[in-house]
Symmetry: C2
Subunit: 212 residues, 2 copies
């Protein structure tokens, strides 16, 4: 897959020059993000909940409690929207109107399917741990039968998806360029602070840096 041609539902209408349907762009945003916001509707009311995820090829995997109402609903075919947003900066224009944010976001629409095949389930769980802390899956105690039974894994195809991006400084109107205030943008970055070790540690344990 190199592009996800926009459908009537994913075509970006507001500021379409910021849109991308390129798979590499979409994948890069998904791979950099740590949290997706899952949206689903119940009786016309949308609910939006944050959760971790991982991308493997053309699929987004999420996992949760097998007892979760959300996961049961999604498994049963409720249409879902998964949105990942990376906040890259504050755009401070000369006019209030042109203030903005720099961001990269992806919206995926579709129907999720429960992953029941044991090898794919394990691969998905591995991907979710590795997405957050590369190399960690090989170090940790693997899931046991009880834990696997308590976990639902869902796969959402990245088939109907779009990205939207804004970069750079403010786009002020020409007549505002002389307005007497600072104008530009303030990049934002999610950074990892020093790891905080748990009270008990094996001898020689080395703290990871995490992914951020």
């Amino acid at each position: 897959m190199t592009t996800t041609p926009p459908t009537e539902r994913t075509r970006v209408r507001r500021l379409p020059n910021r849109a991308s349907y390129d798979a590499a762009t979409i994948h890069a945003i998904l791979d950099e993000g740590l949290v997706c916001h899952l949206g689903f509707a119940h009786d016309g009311q949308a609910f939006v909940l944050p959760t971790t995820y991982a991308r493997v090829e053309d699929a987004l995997y999420v996992h949760g409690s097998a007892a979760s109402r959300m996961f049961r609903g999604l498994r049963d075919g409720i249409p879902v929207c998964a949105t990942v947003t990376l906040l890259d900066g504050l755009v401070l224009a000369r006019s209030a109107f042109h203030h903005s944010m720099n961001y990269r976001s992806v919206v995926i629409l579709g129907v999720a399917a429960e992953v029941t095949e044991p090898a794919e389930r394990l691969r998905a769980l591995e991907a979710i741990v590795e997405h957050v802390a590369p190399g960690r899956w090989a170090q940790v105690r693997p899931p046991n039968e009880r834990e696997l039974k308590a976990t639902m894994v869902l796969r959402l195809p990245i088939a109907e998806a779009s990205a939207k991006l804004r970069t750079g400084g403010p786009l002020d109107d020409a007549e505002d360029l002389g307005w007497p205030c600072w104008a530009g943008h303030v990049p934002l970055q999610l950074v990892a602070l020093p790891p905080v070790a748990d009270a008990t540690q094996p001898a020689g344990a080395v703290a990871p840096n995490g992914r951020a």
Copy 2:
């Protein structure tokens, strides 16, 4: 308002010990966040889009193009869910199963109303700019009539809302405490990098730090 008593729809069911319905907790999360994810349903399909916002007392204000389909739909009474998530850290447990994230999130359900009263509209737009860069509203060129006409401001009451929080290190099973890998958590923080000035600047302009 000191609490937002949970309704059937906002009561946190998964890990209810992480829930809070305390207004001060909810407000602090909303005031720290920079982006909310707005969810709404159309023909049973949820859509989740990121946007800026500001809280003023017991209301969340969002703004967008008056021509936006989403904003027109919300103005016309489509139920909305506004979710704000602060990602505070990676929780690296000894077992794959107990890996988690530290976070603080707020979910608000309700129906938004268009703000048409000119003074409240201006206050909301001011709050949105000040939320991102305190002190900036007084410096920038205020909105003119054309810009105000092109902008829709919506108010969502923070009446049916809940917060969910996780802090601290991993909660491993007792039998895993001797597992030979590092365990702990990695705090994450959104930081502002040095401001990037636009090409034209007035003499003596001072770069702000932004809010992050």
